[in-house]
């Protein structure tokens, strides 16, 4: 094999290798991207029925319903325009509370969002940016708290 052929082979190898790597990486990346939806978007049917996604909203006041003695909990997530039933089984974060912001990962089962992970912020005034934005675009009725996406 001449030096030229060797070089061409090396270049071809690199091209194939890099393309394969890019393909795998892209696939891996897309598989792990989670889209975020609020209850209104879900009500409009925008959320995927068969994929995990991220639900952002506020826990509706007084909606937390725990089954005593178990890890099962049901609650409502709202963006003050639509609400959604959420089911979860596991340990809730310390700051998961009535009327506060919440982000849940999971998927739809019929009309209910079944969460496998619940995140809450270490800040009692926190509101998920998605919710803050939605509230700014569509001002809620006057009986809900003012938009405050910032901490202190």
């Amino acid at each position: 094999m001449t030096a030229r052929q060797k070089r061409m082979l090396l270049v071809a190898g690199i091209v194939v290798g890099v393309s394969l790597a890019v393909l795998l990486v892209t696939k891996g990346f897309m598989g792990n991207v989670m889209y975020s939806y609020n209850p209104t978007e879900i009500a409009e049917g925008k959320a995927p029925p068969d994929r995990r996604f991220r639900l952002a909203g506020m826990v509706e006041k007084g909606s937390i319903d725990k089954t005593p003695g178990t890890l099962d909990v049901k609650f409502l997530v709202t963006d003050y325009r639509h609400t959604l039933h959420v089911k979860y089984s596991g340990i809730l974060p310390d700051l998961f509370r009535d009327g506060q912001g919440v982000i849940a990962h999971g998927r739809m089962h019929g009309d209910t969002f079944v969460a496998d992970e619940i995140l809450a912020k270490h800040d009692e005034k926190y509101m998920p940016p998605e919710v803050a934005k939605a509230l700014k675009d569509n001002p809620p009725p006057p009986n809900v708290p003012s938009v405050n996406s910032r901490g202190t």
Partner: protein, 651 residues
């Protein structure tokens, strides 16, 4: 009065950093000795003034001066003294002051230890540092003044965020910032070299110890943060690929690439322009980290206070610092050609592969961290990248990297000839595979194959690192700090990979609902939830559980997880009950009262998890040893002799 004094000192410090930048850069450009002589006094003054500002703020905290807004927001009369001091960096404004103070400390160190460097070069380094300090002080004064008053003063403060009331977290930010800011020195050295249009092996020898020390601090800072998250957030686990964590990890990866690239530049005069790029990159990523954490653009589980105006300021300074350096680079890089060659299996080449993999790792983290931001900025859908992206791609890069270190450690500079070390390579590999398989299956049983690979390459690396020092020791040759340091750091890497692999494949986690007396099985152990009782602390109350760990029915130890309610901020905190044993951690965290006499309990058993942090400590220790090697001190003396001809004969 004293807070105003601090504020005033900060303003004066800003003026002095401007002087430092102008006298340093213009003075070097005009080659005016009087201008350049003014740089060091400016630095000394700036250090005294920023220290005064720090002292003023600490005074306000210690003396409960709640008329200072920042003190009122982050302290409370019930807060212990230690945390009142640590509360200084509990939020944005104080963190920034701390950042500026640490930068002035590094600058002072440069001013002291650069007396042996050529005058114009040292002036340029200090001038560039002056620009960075100016930017940060301006930022602090304009957008986030920690001395702002609140009239009328509240009767009491809002308290320090309870998650921050912890010894590890009290010292985590200063260490992390010392690392971040330390890369400013490498950046300044790079900019000065480009301004001079001269970059040689001596330059690399000057830059290396600074960079390595900064890297050591960053390593320890990250490890402390990770340790804190482990026991304080109550989730268990050492790393969550959270954006705030990633923000500190990216400069670390780039910095690791930089210290290795600098090695090649020092020893062989190669990779010059690449080293410059990495120096710019490492500091840019440090700035980006600050931007990400402080601007509030990130959706993170622990990003605290945030403000978009501040984000914009940091973004602009980011553009100025990176843009300026890259412009300089595009003009000057061509003059910094390296002309020596090397073979594909030489040490030079292996360090190149190391750099490629580390940069690749940085890119992986970068994409995962910034994709949501970019998507958002482009007005596309709101997305987040799950940790799956990182756990999918990162282990492969890490394992390839460790295997390449295990091989490359035997390579010679310039020439290939890896065949010379065939025996060492084969013994190391065999030891890795055999011991790895025995440890994995013998001690832990079947698990993820990727983890098996991790354990094997980790052992291979440790064995490989030991050949050379042991050989030197047996032949009674001198063992320099550089060699010992490198060996320690590489052993640390090996231990880290082994620990992470084991944790990833053999952790047992159970989230359960338990009533007193009930037991949950954890592999060969079992946790028995005995009782729960009230507990009270200085500024909180809560409950404390007693959990007995059993092995074969016999009690081994008792864990005491707590759930605390901090009075002032009315926030709930989880204090995990952890017993660290030599081979595993037994971990229990309390969830909440589930009613019907049950509590939710997070029970975990994580093998070797403490070695992850030990590994980081070992790496930092190795780095510190290597950076204090004799040759850097000798190099300084040699330059001194060369630049002072009348003393040349004497030395």
């Amino acid at each position: 009065m004293i807070p105003e004094l601090g504020h005033f000192a900060l303003i004066l410090a800003l003026v002095l950093t401007a002087a430092q930048a102008v006298f340093g850069l213009v003075g070097a450009h005009r080659n005016d000795p009087r201008w350049q002589a003014a740089v060091r006094p400016a630095i000394a003054g700036q250090f005294v003034l920023t220290t005064t500002a720090m002292a003023a703020l600490i005074w306000a905290f210690v003396n409960f001066d709640f008329s200072v807004l920042y003190v009122a927001s982050n302290s409370n009369s019930a807060l212990p003294t230690f945390y009142r001091v640590a509360a200084l960096w509990g939020a944005h404004e104080g963190s920034l002051l701390l950042w500026a103070w640490i930068l002035s400390l590094w600058t002072l160190a440069v001013a002291i230890f650069s007396r042996n460097l050529p005058v114009t070069f040292a002036s340029r380094v200090m001038g560039v540092l002056g620009i960075v300090s100016f930017g940060f002080l301006l930022f602090a004064l304009v957008t986030s003044n920690p001395f702002e008053r609140i009239i009328p003063a509240p009767a009491d403060g809002r308290d320090l965020n309870p998650v921050l009331q912890d010894p590890a977290l009290a010292i985590h930010p200063p260490l992390l910032y010392t690392g971040y800011v330390g890369f400013a020195v490498a950046y300044a050295f790079a900019c000065a070299a480009m301004l001079e249009g001269k970059l040689d092996q001596t330059w690399a020898r000057w830059t290396r110890p600074w960079t390595t020390f900064a890297w050591c601090f960053l390593s320890i800072g990250i490890a402390l943060g990770s340790w804190w998250a482990y026991y304080e957030l109550g989730w268990g686990g050492y790393w969550f690929w959270d954006p705030v964590e990633n923000a500190s990890f990216m400069p670390w990866l780039a910095g690791t690439a930089l210290i290795h690239s600098l090695a090649v530049t020092e020893k062989r005069g190669l990779f010059k322009s690449w080293t410059l790029l990495l120096a710019i990159l490492a500091f840019s990523l440090s700035l980006l980290g600050t931007f990400l954490v402080r601007s509030g653009v990130l959706v993170s589980v622990h990003s605290f206070a945030a403000d978009p105006a501040r984000g914009k300021f940091i973004l602009w300074s980011l553009i100025v610092m990176i843009g300026g350096a890259l412009t300089l680079y595009s003009v000057r890089a061509r003059t910094l050609k390296s002309n020596a060659g090397f073979e594909g299996t030489s040490r030079d080449a292996f360090l190149l592969y190391n750099n490629i993999l580390l940069v690749l790792a940085t890119i992986v983290v970068f994409i995962g961290t910034l994709a949501p931001l970019v998507n958002d900025a482009l007005g596309l859908s709101t997305i987040s990248v799950g940790s799956g992206w990182f756990t999918l791609s990162f282990p492969w890069i890490a394992i390839a990297l460790v295997a390449l270190v295990a091989i490359g450690i035997h390579a010679h500079w310039k020439r290939g000839r890896l065949g010379d070390s065939r025996n060492r390579l084969l013994i190391g590999l065999a030891a890795g595979v055999v011991l790895g398989a025995i440890v994995f299956y013998g001690a832990y049983g079947p698990g993820k194959l990727l983890s098996l690979a991790g354990i094997c390459v980790g052992i291979w690396l440790i064995v490989s690192s030991l050949f050379d020092p042991v050989d030197r020791w047996r032949r009674k040759l001198t063992l320099s700090r550089a060699v010992i340091g490198m060996t320690l750091a590489h052993i640390g890497l090996g231990i880290g990979v082994i620990a992470i692999s084991t944790v990833e494949s053999h952790t047992i986690e159970r989230d359960v609902a338990l009533a007193p007396g009930e037991v949950v099985a954890m592999g060969s152990y079992a946790y028995r939830f005995d009782k729960i009782e009230p507990v009270e602390g200085p500024n909180y109350d809560g409950v404390r559980a007693e959990v007995t760990v059993l092995r074969d029915g016999r009690p081994v130890t008792v864990l005491h997880p707590e759930k605390r309610n901090y009075w002032v901020q009315r926030s709930t905190m989880t204090e995990a009950g952890i017993e660290a044993r030599w081979n595993m951690d037994l971990f229990v965290a309390l969830g909440e009262d589930l009613g019907a006499g049950r509590w939710s309990v997070r029970a975990q058993m994580r093998p070797l998890i403490h070695y992850v942090w030990f590994a980081a400590f070992l790496m930092a220790l190795g780095g510190a040893l290597a950076a204090s090697d004799k040759r850097y001190r000798q190099a300084a003396r040699a330059t001194e002799a060369a630049t002072a001809p009348n003393q040349a004969g004497a030395s």
